[in-house]
């Protein structure tokens, strides 16, 4: 059995004691007013994402997460190791696959940096490309093919993360529009058509063949007469 699986089973065995906890009964409270509790975590995080959309639809992402001193400490408690930070990044990327993820904790500057490639954020449908972001994001700025969005997400244990998402569409992208559909934010754009999409080498060969055919038909003696014509032209 793999070590990880064994660790998992050990943890599960500990957790299975779910119902066996003995709670500590407290003495009667008489007429004192009932006081509640507060969830201690008021985490507020700034999450800056820089997304570069490539022509093949993959998205290269550089993410910087910043917090106050207390917030950073809480964040590190929740995600103590870089590999655990994956869940923070995935929070609003359920329908996406992440690859080549690297995460670095920069304790001195109270920030976490991450970079990865996101698969599945774009797709080509009905002749248009569509970039999908989970949740309702607000378009704040647009300059050429760069769009800036903002959105806020609640954190699982309380608090929120404020996201600023900068999206760089490919330089050749045109006809860009932004909509909200089914609770998600979508950016539609077009890329120059790859024509019929044929193999470029074969397309070159095809073009030469067509030219040759035309020459053969146009010249009086066809292609066979071409060398004679060239010699005549020299003399």
């Amino acid at each position: 059995m793999a070590v990880k699986t064994r660790v998992m089973l050990l943890i599960l065995a500990l957790l299975i004691s779910w119902t066996s906890l003995n709670v500590e009964a407290q003495p009667i409270a008489l007429g004192q007013p009932i006081k509640g509790i507060e969830l201690p975590i008021k985490l507020e995080i700034d999450d800056l994402l820089n997304m570069t959309v490539m022509e093949n639809g993959l998205v290269k992402v550089d993410e910087v997460v910043k917090a106050t001193a207390t917030g950073y400490l809480t964040l590190k408690q929740q995600y103590p190791l870089p590999f655990l930070f994956k869940r923070f990044i995935e929070m609003d990327k359920t329908d996406v696959e992440l690859e080549n993820l690297t995460v670095n904790f920069d304790d001195a500057n109270r920030r976490v940096t991450a970079s990865y490639v996101a698969l599945g954020m774009t797709a080509k449908r009905m002749d248009k490309w569509v970039f999908t972001m989970e949740g309702d994001a607000k378009l704040t700025t647009r300059a050429g093919n760069t769009l800036v969005f903002s959105k806020t997400l609640p954190m699982p244990m309380g608090g929120k993360k404020n996201m600023i998402i900068t999206i760089h569409l490919p330089e050749s992208a045109s006809d860009i529009s932004v909509t909200t559909e089914g609770g998600n934010t979508k950016i539609y754009y077009r890329l120059p058509s790859s024509g019929f999409g044929g193999n470029p080498i074969l397309m070159g060969v095809l073009a030469i063949l067509v030219i040759l055919l035309i020459l053969n038909l146009v010249l009086k003696e066809g292609l066979m007469g071409l060398p004679k014509m060239l010699r005549r032209g020299k003399s």
Binding site: W18, A29, G31, I37, L119, L209
Partner: protein, 527 residues
């Protein structure tokens, strides 16, 4: 017929153009390569039937399958279609179409099936198959790939707390409980059984309008707690789980817990959340902490979060004790984390809604004798409570009980007696007292011949107090009492609530005690 050289060349060129053209536009060629599609499918191994509606709501992101299609070739893959099918439960889904996946590109396709109602009728896990069909164009033809995966539809009471495969799990608390929001599907405030029981609790509270104010909300919460005590709901450890290799649990719907009279901590939490939600206190949470669960109710005015330790039902704790115990446990243990607060209001509004439960006879609470038990207590309480206060203390008492007062061996006193048979008496005395609280208790105890059966100590401001229980016989009938001794600003105060044992057994005395103890308050509390 002979063909000239020119025509022969034209013919050859034409044939070559056709051949190369076909190769160019179908994508295949020894020179260029062909489409290569890499297909990777993630899927949920178990479907949680109680939350079957959730899987059909893409906004909730609980996909059943996630297919990653990657073009590893060097020509585009065109006209890709992906569809899914769960054997015995769905038909093939409408294919999702992708015009083109460029070389090096990828798409991620997710499956959110609309499962049929019959899923909620499953009483035990049922194995079946999930099929994934991918078609795409290759060399001018349609290529089809079908994969199948084993999945299991769980019984309607079963939950698997995580659907993250072991090899992908980060083993953190949120990962191990990644399905926990689905517990909101067990919260059923509109179930007729829950509503009727909740209404009985609210009647016990004197018909409070829970959502109007914090005070009314707390009254309702207390009334529901008292109804649960009268019903005799007990906390039990899970007798029969099922083992899927993941952390899993059999979770009862609130109606089952009410009718069975017992439940685990998660059952009791879900039941209490449903009962208060049925009275309009919809901002409720299921709080998960390692090894435990408890409900939290957000009060309508102040927004204060009131946790309730529902497992103290076993000890017959008062509502205040249940809250105090939960607050203590939170402050001492659980607040340090990890924990997951599941907002029933938010998740249910997002679409984590309960399944259709089978209809029960409308008089099921009467058939089980539950309604009669609670109604009997309501009738003995005689409706509203009234407040008595003087310079030393204030307390609330049943308005219909007979009042008496004067002086006796203990000092000045006031008392109220259940008028039907005098089987319950609430008595409070007060007297100037110089000495310790222990001396005061000894002095009062010396006046009677009762056997002390329990004692707890506490403090309100600068005033120490002791809560003690006694048992004795009077005219052949067993009696029990709960008593509070309090020393405050040089005055000894003694509150005694005595009742025949039968009234303790049927829940009436406990309900009166809860109300009295929770409203009894000395006037000279100090710092």
């Amino acid at each position: 017929m002979s063909i000239s050289g020119k025509n022969l060349i034209s013919l050859v060129l034409l044939v070559l153009i056709v051949v190369v053209g076909v190769l160019t536009f179908t994508g295949a060629s020894a020179l260029g390569g062909e489409p290569k599609l890499d297909i990777k499918v993630h899927h949920k191994e178990q479907i949680i039937s109680a939350a079957y509606k959730v899987y059909g709501r893409p906004s909730l992101k609980f996909w059943v399958a996630k297919t990653v299609l990657r073009n590893t070739g060097d020509v585009p893959v065109r006209n890709v279609e992906v569809s899914y099918y769960i054997e015995g439960y769905t038909s093939w889904s409408t294919p999702t179409k992708y015009d083109e996946i460029p070389p090096g590109g990828a798409v991620v396709d997710t499956y959110y099936p609309k499962l049929p109602k019959k899923v909620a009728e499953l009483t035990s896990p049922v194995p079946t198959k999930l099929y994934i069909k991918v078609t795409y164009e290759k060399n001018g033809r349609t290529e089809e790939v079908i994969q199948s995966k084993d999945i299991e539809l769980l019984g309607v009471h079963d939950i698997v707390y995580s659907s993250i495969p072991a090899e992908e799990s980060l083993l953190t608390f949120p990962d191990v409980f990644s399905n926990s929001p689905l517990l909101a599907a067990w919260v059923t405030p509109t179930d007729p059984v829950v509503r009727e029981f909740s209404d009985l609790g609210n009647k016990l509270a004197g018909g409070a309008g829970a959502s109007l104010s914090d005070e009314e909300a707390l009254k309702t919460m207390q009334g529901i707690w008292q109804a649960l005590l009268i019903r005799g709901i007990t906390y039990k450890t899970e007798p029969e789980g099922f083992w899927t290799g993941k952390f899993a649990q059999y979770v009862k719907f609130p109606r089952d817990t009410i009718l069975d009279g017992e439940g685990t901590c998660i059952d009791l939490t879900i039941m209490y959340a449903s009962l208060v939600a049925a009275q309009g206190l919809t901002d409720v949470y299921i709080m998960l902490v390692p090894g435990h669960a408890f409900p939290i109710v957000r009060l309508p005015q102040s927004g204060s979060m009131i946790p309730i330790e529902t497992t103290t039902l076993n000890q017959g704790a008062t509502f205040k004790e249940a809250v105090q115990t939960a607050v203590y446990n939170w402050q001492q243990k659980f607040s340090k984390g990890p924990y997951i607060p599941i907002s029933v209001k938010i998740w249910q509004a997002s679409g984590v809604t309960p399944p259709e439960l089978p209809p029960l006879p409308p008089d099921i609470l009467e058939r089980k004798g539950i309604k009669q038990k609670i109604m009997a207590v309501i009738s003995k309480l005689g409706g509203e409570l009234r407040t008595y206060s003087n310079n030393y203390f204030s307390v609330r008492y049943p308005a219909s009980w007979s009042e008496d007062g004067g002086t006796d061996d203990e000092g000045s006193y006031v008392s109220w007696t259940y008028p039907e048979d005098e089987g319950m008496i609430l008595y409070v005395s007060w007297t100037p007292f110089q000495g310790s609280l222990g001396d005061y208790v000894s002095y009062i105890e010396s006046l009677y011949e009762e056997q002390r059966i329990g004692m707890q100590q506490g403090q309100i401001g600068s005033c120490p107090y002791i809560v003690a229980s006694y048992a004795w016989e009077y005219e052949g009938q067993p009696w029990m009492s709960n008593e509070i001794y309090l020393l405050c600003g040089g005055t000894g105060i003694h509150l005694s609530f005595q009742a025949e044992k039968r009234y303790w057994d049927d829940g009436t005395a406990r309900t009166v005690w809860e109300r009295v103890a929770s409203t009894f308050y000395p006037m000279m509390v100090g710092g």
